[in-house]
């Protein structure tokens, strides 16, 4: 079966600097893959190339079989993209945001109404669905953003540090939603600094450093390769020597 998210020798250069260097991986339907790495490792650049927002210097990113660089619109139809930076229009309400993005994804009116109701219910948006987004708390905003990303039932979900600046309850709520997305057969690529979350949630992890994947596999495999008991320990063993040089 063709992977839902596919990176093939994906590379991004800014002048002499190589932000992402020949990264190759896949994420299949019903799988959560964690993208880990220190700050500046190239995670966000990699995710933006997958979403077709940045054009690779070499290699190819495909979402649902569509090239993110040459046909970004088709690729994004199959993608839900949520980062700590993807905010909601402050003067619209979550319900209006869902209507807008439903229209952007060209959902038929009945389907849109049904999906809107589903995500409002699933993410418990009802109490604040008609308040302007600017009045919502960080957790409420992120739940509304996730609803926006899930509205069109995408085959692929890319989450870039979605629990940043969220309290424990909101984070837990969001991670539960990720589990449900996996259960419903979506391919999830989760970039996070919270290694405990990754350990609990991810089927596989990719450790990115200086634009290259330095470790990949199921959490026990990565831990075993680094002779570590936990993912945090493995991370510290694989990365620290290079961090000292930074």
């Amino acid at each position: 079966m063709e992977p839902t998210i596919q990176a093939e020798r994906l590379t991004k250069r800014y002048g002499a600097k190589t932000a992402v260097d020949e990264v190759t991986f896949t994420v299949h339907a019903g799988e959560v893959v964690g993208l880990l790495g220190p700050n500046g490792a190239g995670k966000t650049t990699l995710l933006r190339m997958l979403a077709g927002m940045l054009v690779p210097s070499a290699g190819e990113a495909r979402i649902g079989g569509h090239s993110a660089a040459s046909d970004p619109v088709a690729a994004r139809r199959r993608l839900g993209y949520l980062t700590a930076d993807t905010a909601l229009p402050p003067r619209l309400t979550p319900r209006e945001v869902l209507d807008l993005f439903g229209a952007i994804h060209e959902l038929p009116p009945r389907r849109l109404a049904a999906r809107r109701q589903e995500v409002i219910q699933e993410l418990s948006l009802a109490p604040f669905a008609d308040q302007a987004c600017i009045t919502l708390s960080s957790g409420q905003k992120q739940r509304a953003s996730l609803a926006r990303a899930l509205l069109h039932a995408p085959a692929a979900l890319i989450l870039d540090e979605p629990t940043n600046a969220l309290d424990v309850l909101s984070s837990r709520f969001l991670l539960d939603a990720v589990r449900r997305a996996r259960a419903s057969g979506r391919a999830v690529l989760l970039s996070t600094h919270l290694l405990a979350d990754a350990e609990l949630l991810c089927d596989r992890v990719l450790l990115l450093h200086r634009g290259r994947i330095i470790a990949a596999g199921a959490v026990p495999e990565v831990c075993a390769a680094a002779s570590a008991r936990t993912l945090t320990e493995a991370f510290l063993r694989l990365v620290p020597r290079e961090m000292e040089e930074v």
């Binding site: 040459s70 970004p72 088709a74 905010a87």
Partner: protein, 683 residues
């Protein structure tokens, strides 16, 4: 590949408008500010001349008389209420002496005895300038008295001194004062309104992270920007409506106070012209501020960039305020200046319909070009992601695997060329002789834009314009097609003649006149060069080059041919010519696609135009029917021969999404669906 979906743009536009309506600052800048500023500005403009006159009347008028002047001069000035200070000697340096006296407030004007006497005044001071006029009047009165006295001395009638009598009555037209300042006021206020919306919807969205949300959705940058441009235009129009309402209210209030602005004299025609001027002004401002908003990383940076923008806007404002500057063909193309002058002249009923159309078309053209530039800017990753942007790299977006002339680029090019050609030819026709008009318009409006467009899309000219020599077999087919074309256009003309005899007769008259302009001066050869050779090269580069090549990337040869023919038809303006050119466009496009060379379009275009020239030269309407029958017979035989020698399309193009022709393009641009290694031409 998704290009531009109007329904999606409409939804985005509604979202933008909803946000604008809920934005207090937008309402303040767009609606409240005009309601406050316009009445004050308008009242000041209306009342200023009156207040100045009153001030002048109320202040004491002082004049210095130097040297021995006739006593009648001092008497006439004193009789007019002047405070006269006399000195026996003319100062050694009268200029310096007057300057000192003026600055000390001793006099507004000085008169020195000499032959002729010299009148000193300060033109920079309205009071001094008015005083000089007053002294001038008093001097005329004194001269009259001296003449009368002289005549009386010689026993002649004193009436001889004054063979003509007149009296001066001042009738101020407040409207003409108001309209001189109105464009400047509106331009500034509309600029503020458009700027805020542009910064809020672009730089503000980038700052808040909502732009990234849109960019991660299945939208193209053109769709996002078109919606934002629409929102800026609508916000600007709302601000303009608010200003007009404020203007009307001010006029009503001033009329109640006895100050007539003359706005009640504005009929529907002048108001319609004013509406067009405001629309043009708003479209131009929206286009400019859209680019500024696309460039700025945040609202604050946008405000900093706006400072030079508003300084630049003061230039058209100054031009519109300058007396004597007229809205001509050249200025009709200059953004902002054209709308300002149209508003000024439109309100006093001094514009013509072509000028109104020219300004509107030029402004829309400016808007389309600005949208394209902003779209280009928007595709720069540095700009998009808010990085530091080196200015030299501003327009250098990262090349995408699909870089080449696309259906989207072809449609945009057709729109740009259409707008440019309508506006440009109107202007050039008024400025240049026919031959130069054809050369200039063909090169400037078709050939150069086509070359620039191909270069922008990183296409080699050989690929973009299918510069390929036809094979021998294709040359034969081309020869047969050349025989079909006259029959086809003649048949189309006859059909139109039967359907719309009046329109065809009018168009035939225009064409005959055009040809007559050339033939007597330059002969048939010159006419063929200007009317057949030049358009065959320039128009074919634009239509069978850029437009057809771009549309053919959509995968449907039928759609590419139909779209190109439609665009080619529309650019010919006259309805009859539009129809004939569209039919001809089908043949030219199909031939270019099938024979895979632009030479096909050029040759057939030349044949068609040359046939039209020769027909006019040889008085075709009076040809015997046998000639027409022969043309049809030759055409039919040639068409039959073509049918019998028809070839299959090139087998290299894959059936579904392949461009036509496909093979050379794949090699040049990295292919349709690229492999990993070939995905980025930039690497």
């Amino acid at each position: 590949m998704t290009v531009f979906r109007p329904n999606i743009v409409l939804r985005l536009l509604l979202k933008e408008l909803r946000e604008i309506v809920r934005d207090r600052r937008a309402l303040l800048f767009g609606l409240v500010l005009p309601l406050l500023v316009v009445p004050i500005a308008l009242a000041a403009v209306a009342l200023a001349p009156r207040l100045l006159m009153r001030t002048q009347d109320a202040s004491q008028r002082r004049v210095l008389l130097w040297g021995n002047l006739p006593g009648e001069v001092g008497a006439a000035l004193a009789a007019s209420g002047w405070v006269v200070t006399s000195r026996d000697q003319v100062p050694a340096e009268p200029d310096a002496a007057f300057r000192a006296a003026f600055e000390a407030g001793e006099a507004q004007v000085a008169l020195a005895a000499a032959d002729p006497a010299s009148l000193y005044f300060n033109p920079a001071s309205p009071e001094s300038a008015l005083a000089a006029r007053g002294v001038d009047t008093a001097l005329q009165s004194a001269r009259l008295q001296l003449t009368r006295a002289s005549l009386a001395e010689h026993g002649l009638s004193a009436d001889l001194a004054e063979p003509l009598r007149w009296t001066r009555r001042e009738v101020t037209l407040p409207l003409s004062m108001a309209v001189r300042f109105l464009p400047a006021i509106l331009l500034m206020l509309l600029g503020v309104a458009c700027l805020h919306v542009a910064l809020e919807t672009l730089a503000g969205e980038r700052e808040r992270g909502t732009l990234q949300t849109l960019l991660s959705s299945p939208l193209t940058s053109l769709e996002i920007l078109a919606a934002k441009l629409g929102a800026i235009v609508i916000a600007g129009l709302a601000a303009a409506a608010s200003m007009l309402a404020a203007q009307g209210l001010t006029a009503a209030v001033l009329a109640g106070a006895g100050v007539e602005l003359g706005l009640s004299a504005l009929g529907p025609g002048r108001l319609a012209v004013a509406a067009v001027a405001l629309l043009s002004m708003v479209v131009s401002l929206a286009a400019l501020t859209l680019n500024l908003g696309a460039l700025a990383r945040n609202y604050k940076e946008g405000q900093a960039l706006a400072t030079p923008l508003f300084l630049a806007l003061s230039a058209p404002m100054a031009i519109a305020l300058t007396p004597g500057v007229k809205l001509g063909a050249g200025l009709a193309l200059a953004p902002f200046i054209n709308a300002s002058l149209l508003l000024r002249d439109g309100l006093i009923g001094a514009v013509t319909a072509p000028m109104v159309t020219g300004v509107l078309v030029a402004s829309i053209g400016f808007g389309v070009v600005a949208l394209l530039l902003a779209s280009r800017l928007f595709e720069s990753e540095q700009v998009l992601m808010g990085g530091e942007v080196p200015w030299r790299e501003l327009w250098g977006r990262a090349p995408r695997p699909g870089d080449r002339l696309s259906p989207r680029s072809a449609v945009l090019f057709a729109v740009v060329v259409l707008v440019l050609s309508v506006a440009g030819r109107t202007v050039l026709a008024a400025q240049l002789p026919a031959a130069w008009m054809i050369i200039t318009s063909q090169v400037a409006l078709f050939l150069l834009p086509a070359l620039v467009w191909a270069r922008i899309h990183r296409c080699s000219f050989r690929e973009a314009f299918s510069l390929r020599l036809p094979s021998r077999a294709d040359l034969g087919r081309l020869g047969l097609l050349a025989l079909v074309v006259p029959a086809l256009t003649t048949g189309t003309g006859m059909l139109l003649q039967w359907l719309f005899p009046g329109a065809v007769a009018e168009f035939a008259g225009v064409m005959a006149e055009t040809i007559r302009q050339f033939v007597p001066g330059g002969g048939l050869a010159a006419t063929l060069f200007f009317v057949a050779v030049v358009p065959a090269i320039c128009e074919e580069a634009a239509f069978r080059g850029v437009v057809l090549k771009g549309l053919s990337r959509g995968g449907s040869a039928v759609a590419a041919v139909a779209g190109t023919a439609l665009a080619f038809g529309l650019v010919h303006i006259y309805p009859v010519q539009v129809a004939i050119a569209a039919v001809l466009g089908v043949v030219l496009s199909a031939a270019t696609l099938r024979l895979r060379t632009l030479a096909a379009g050029v040759v057939l275009h030349f044949v068609n135009n040359a046939f039209a020239v020769v027909s006019g030269y040889l008085d075709a309407p009076h040809w015997p029917p046998v000639v027409t029958a022969a043309i049809f017979a030759v055409g039919a035989v040639a068409a039959g021969a073509l049918w019998l020698t028809r070839s299959r399309p090139e087998a290299t193009a894959p059936a579904a999404k392949a461009p036509v022709p496909a093979d050379s393009w794949r090699q040049a641009s990295g292919g349709g669906v690229p492999s990993a290694d070939a995905s980025c031409p930039g690497t």
